[in-house]
């Protein structure tokens, strides 16, 4: 069983109603893309939002296989400065 930490940054926390969550996945072949599909099903508001994904600080690696302890972070378009 792999436990994956998930964070929703910026306005995405308002869409999902939380900043942090975690999921347990049984397969050791679950990819970042699989997780995003699951999150879309669970939080329908995400479909209207643009976001990038960081896994352990690395951006946009959709085929990355997730392992226990990984932190997956959903990042809306940056607007700093």
């Amino acid at each position: 069983m792999q436990k994956i930490k998930i964070r929703f940054m910026g306005g995405l926390a308002e869409v999902t109603g939380k900043s942090y969550t975690s999921v347990k996945v049984c397969s050791n072949q679950t990819t970042c893309n699989d997780l995003v599909e699951y999150l879309h099903q669970k939080y329908s508001g995400l479909s209207e939002k643009k976001f990038a994904i960081a896994v352990n600080y690395e951006l946009n690696n959709p085929d990355k296989i997730l392992k226990s302890g990984d932190e997956v972070v959903l990042l809306p378009p940056f607007s700093g400065g």
Partner: protein
Amino acid sequence: MNAFINGSISPALITEQIVNHQSKKGIGAHTFFIGQVRADKLPGNNPEEFADFFNKNQQHTSDESILMRRVEAIEFSAYVEMAEREIVALRTHIMARYPIKCLHIFHSLGKVKTGEICFFVFVSGAHRNGCFSALEETVELFKKQIPVWKKLFLNDGSTVWKEDEHRLKHKEH
């Protein structure tokens, strides 16, 4: 060094940075960028309600100050752990690319009111050559690559995330 500061960046910090570099005698030029929170105008929250109000009161609908909402403050948030790593990488990239001696970046977190400072980039070198380009590239890359977000607080009590602002303008204009 921590780039993030809670609340606005005080003009005193900017002065202090200049003073700190006076002991570095190899420096002959400073360039800096100061970002200040602007009172942007956004369309009203409910245009129909406003139209109704104007009809009833026979007021002229071109009174922009009533039709528009205004930004009063911006709340900045960041994925700090990643942003700090990315800022280190950004500094390394700029320092390798331009003949400069120092590069300091400060950015606010939390709420900053209009007219207050939220972003300060300070570049120093032996000569002005490179300082201008290094400054501009740092500012542009920061905006593109560093995970920071703006939530706009408006004068009618509502809030809008910066990334949704363009959608609002397209929808209501």
